[in-house]
């Protein structure tokens, strides 16, 4: 093959003992992007599964695409309806792309540069995890956030959120949510309120771009939005979080391929549904009496539980732990929504908080296994 030969020639200066040896991780990243390497098993099992992290990560990206495409459309749609002029779907997509593609570009350029830098400095391969993180970050931002803030958040997430802990696989918090939380607390005016959720809402007079949860927190009823709109996603919100339908398609891909944990997703839905239902019974304020089923389809809950809570590195890692973790994310999400008017959307903080507690959950799951083993020894001694 011609490409292969060219690559083999290009590879020479990067090999051990050559001039560009230090840059090998960078070359390796490009090479393995084109070709699955010719490495064979050296120790251990002689045959290996077709799965590798590249394939895992690319599957997550495929699962994200429906939500991303709908997010692009919805960004344009939300912008164009407030101008009350006639428009086509194509107009909406063009406007959405004009807004969102630069954000994705900035996220990938800043994030991947840092990933390459750390890979070269530490002399390990470039990990594929950022391909997902880099797409997730713009998808969970408000549309009007300045590009430099996206870049700053990405840099914070990669350096402080991930590399400071030792790199891929060692981080405690989900890097994409770390980026969002950073932006949320560093640039609050761009990240919350009534004006940020619809493209250029602040420039158009008399138009409110509040999210449904924002309205409810302010004590208003979101009458203009029907259940179908909430489910399909033609509502204001962060770029790709609005469409529960598209998120469900993504969830289906993740669960079908086995890449995403259905335990966490189902646990989250159960936790949120039960908490929402209990608050429905109580019904002390607008958010409490907001129908529990609607809780599941507005805001970022569906997106968060499917794509963010299931991040295997920051989630609980044992099977039982995943159930507990998922349920608690759901419960906490609704609790924060209902009790904290400053944060009408609770899913980001719920997941970050549970990320912190995931090792504790796993610890207790392991402890019960250890106890069982110790009990066995005791029983043995008794019968002996």
């Amino acid at each position: 093959m011609k490409i292969r030969k060219t690559l083999d020639n290009l590879k020479k200066p990067f090999e051990k003992g050559q001039k560009l040896e230090k840059l090998y991780p960078a070359f390796d990243a490009f090479e393995t992007f084109l070709f699955v390497p010719n490495h064979t098993s050296k120790t251990g099992a002689h045959i290996r599964d077709a799965i590798d992290l590249k394939r895992v990560m690319i599957t997550v990206i495929i699962a994200l695409l429906p939500a991303l495409f709908y997010g692009i459309y919805n960004t344009g749609y939300q912008y164009l309806i407030q101008t009350s002029e006639a428009f086509t779907t194509l107009d909406a997509i063009i406007h959405g792309s004009y807004k969102i593609i630069p954000m994705i570009a900035v996220s990938y350029i800043v994030g991947l540069s840092l990933e390459f830098l750390f890979a070269i400095l530490r002399g390990h391969q470039v990990n594929e995890g950022y391909l997902v993180t880099g797409l997730l970050i713009p998808m969970i931002m408000p549309v009007d956030i300045p590009l430099w803030m996206v870049g700053a958040s990405v840099a914070f997430a990669v350096v402080i959120g991930k590399e400071a802990f030792g790199g891929t696989g060692m981080n405690i918090l989900n890097p994409a949510l770390t980026a969002r939380a950073f932006a949320f607390f560093a640039y609050p005016t761009y990240m919350s309120g009534n004006q940020v959720w619809v493209s250029e809402a602040s420039n158009v007079d008399g138009v409110s771009g509040e999210t449904i949860l924002g309205m409810l927190a302010a004590g208003n009823s979101p009458e203009q939005f029907g259940i179908m709109e909430m489910f399909i996603g033609s509502i204001p919100g962060s770029i790709a979080e609005t469409s529960t339908l598209m998120v469900l398609i993504g969830a289906f891909i993740l669960i079908y391929t086995g890449v995403g944990s259905w335990r966490i997703m189902l646990g989250g839905v159960i936790g949120a549904a039960i908490t929402g239902y209990l608050f429905n019974l109580w019904g002390a304020n607008a958010l409490m009496s907001f129908n529990w089923m609607s809780h599941l389809i507005v805001g970022g809950f569906a997106f968060g539980i499917v794509f963010m809570a299931t991040d295997p590195v920051s989630a609980a890692q044992t099977m039982k732990g995943k159930w507990i973790y998922g349920i608690l994310v759901g419960v906490l999400c609704i609790l924060i929504r209902v009790f904290n008017p400053a944060y009408p959307e609770g899913v980001m903080l719920a997941i970050l908080l549970m990320n912190v507690f995931a090792p504790t959950i796993d610890h207790y799951v392991l402890e019960s296994n250890i106890k069982k083993r110790e009990q066995r020894v005791k029983n043995q001694l008794k019968t002996a």
Binding site: M1, I3, R4, D28, T32, L34, F35, V36, P37, N38, H39, T40, S41, T43, G44, A45, H46, I47, R48, D49, A50, I51, D52, L53, K54, R55, V56, I58, T59, I62, Q125, N127, E128, G129, G167, T168, G169, M170, Y256, T257, G258, V259, S261, P312, V313, A315, Q317, T318, M319, K322, D362, L366, N369, I370, K372, R373, R376, V377, Q380
Partner: protein, 458 residues
């Protein structure tokens, strides 16, 4: 001696795991091959044994005559599988002996012992007989997966009578003609560990379940690794800290049985030579330590690419050169194509549908029932631990594999013990190696962890 009064069969269903279907499994035909030119004992098969040679190069030995003993336990003797001249000792780093090669003289003289009357034997007497005549190495122990320490009393002895590994051999077929000797071997084990010899058999093994009905059998059903003796021990009577369990392979029980019956050391081995590049995979009857060439010349191998020969199964076996020798404990010689090729965009889901996966990221699962042509490509590069849950899905023990691997990497002995390191052996992690998306070498990590634990605690 036999447990007729306590006769019982338990059924245990293993749910987690994976049966890998590889092309080229051996057809049910045994060909006996004549005495080969050279044989060897591969010292790597005897993990942690420090050998002290009793013979020099050019010395003559008979079959069953001592070649070396263990420096840490001089009773533990290893004997020659054939009569002839010691041709060479191959040494590796720091003059560590790797192979002792014996050139057969074609006479096959052997050391004659008196047959053993099991009814009059004591455990101690039988033990010293097996030790001095070179049959003890067939008895291995858990924990640590090493040759059994004769000074410890085992809680139980386990024999797994089926092989669930890919291209696994059919022990029912191999032992059919030797079933009586097999039973004598089992009776000998009963003396070493009265009333606690456990046999694991497969659901469909009707011949075994009939013939062995007087023994403690447990029926296992389910995918690989249900045939791994470690998994069977875990489900029958798990190992606790401080306990020792012995395990013997089925054909080695026959060797012990033959020794008891005739007083002769007959290290016969029925080997399946199989794998996708083998055009006529079959069973060959030979001896342990035989040169591989004598086996490979019996079969037709595909040409045009480099091949890998493996002593043992493709998940837990050891790579061996085509000029090498059959392993001490192996009933398989697996042959695979070396997968040292690049695959353009092979990582994109649904592009490369030929290589099977536990994930459904390609259409390969649609043809799961069809035997596949695996090669040795890693199908990716080594990465940090990321995906969770994949190890648990192929590990049918109540042990947390990923956490245990991490503790082995750290070397935290207390945590390793608490998480059940005593219950596992490297081969139980074969499927974890196989299915890891980060290409983690779990078997190596567990082996190193066990060795570290052994060094620190023994």
């Amino acid at each position: 001696m036999r447990r007729v009064e306590l006769f019982m069969t338990k059924d245990i269903r293993i749910r987690k795991g994976l049966s890998i279907n590889i092309k080229g499994s051996a057809i049910k035909k045994i060909e006996k091959i004549p005495l080969a030119k050279s044989y060897a004992l591969n010292l790597q098969d005897f993990h942690l044994v420090m050998p002290k040679l009793t013979k020099k190069v050019d010395d003559f030995v008979k079959r069953g005559e001592s070649l070396f003993y263990s420096k840490t336990n001089e009773e533990l003797v290893f004997v020659s599988p054939v009569s002839g001249k010691i041709r060479d000792t191959i040494r590796g780093d720091r003059r560590k002996i790797l192979n002792i090669i014996i050139e057969s003289d074609g006479k096959d003289d052997f050391v004659k012992n008196k047959p053993i009357n099991l009814k009059k034997s004591s455990a101690e007497g039988l033990k010293s007989k097996l030790l001095s005549c070179g049959l003890w190495p067939f008895i291995k122990q858990r924990p640590f997966d090493i040759i059994a320490d004769p000074n410890l009393n085992p809680k139980s002895i386990h024999v797994s009578c089926f092989d669930s590994a890919p291209l696994g051999v059919d022990f029912e077929f191999i032992l059919k003609d030797n079933i009586d000797v097999f039973k004598i071997g089992l009776d000998a084990l009963e003396i070493l560990c009265p009333n606690n010899v456990n046999l694991g058999i497969k659901k469909c093994q009707s011949f075994f379940s009939e013939e062995l009905s007087n023994y403690n059998t447990t029926v296992f059903d389910g995918p690989h690794p249900s045939g791994n003796v470690g998994v069977q021990i875990h489900h029958i009577n798990p190992i606790n800290s401080g306990e020792v369990v012995w395990v013997v392979k089925p054909e080695d029980v026959v060797t012990i049985g033959n020794f008891v019956k005739n007083g002769e050391y007959i290290p016969e081995r029925t080997v399946a030579i199989s794998g996708p590049p083998v055009e006529n995979p079959m069973y060959l009857k030979t001896r342990l330590g035989v040169e591989l060439k004598s086996l490979t010349k019996k079969v037709k191998l595909s040409k045009g690419y480099s091949l890998r020969f493996i002593n043992g199964d493709v998940l837990s076996g050891h790579k061996v050169s085509p000029d090498g020798f059959l392993g001490y404990y192996n009933n398989n010689v697996s042959v695979l194509k070396e997968g040292n090729e690049y695959k353009l965009f092979g990582w994109i889901p649904f592009i490369n549908n030929k290589v099977p996966s536990i994930y459904k990221t390609s259409f390969s699962w649609l043809t799961n029932s069809k035997a596949k042509e695996y090669d040795t490509n890693l199908n990716g590069e080594e990465r940090a631990f990321v995906a969770t849950g994949e190890m648990e899905s192929v590990f049918p023990m109540d042990v947390f594999p990923m956490q245990l691997i991490k503790e082995c990497l750290i070397g935290d002995i207390e945590k390793m013990e608490k998480l059940g390191i005593y219950e596992v052996s490297p081969e139980d992690f074969g499927l974890i190696d196989y299915s890891s998306s980060s290409k983690i070498e779990a078997q190596t990590i567990i082996r190193d962890g066990l060795d570290y634990l052994y060094k620190e605690t023994q």
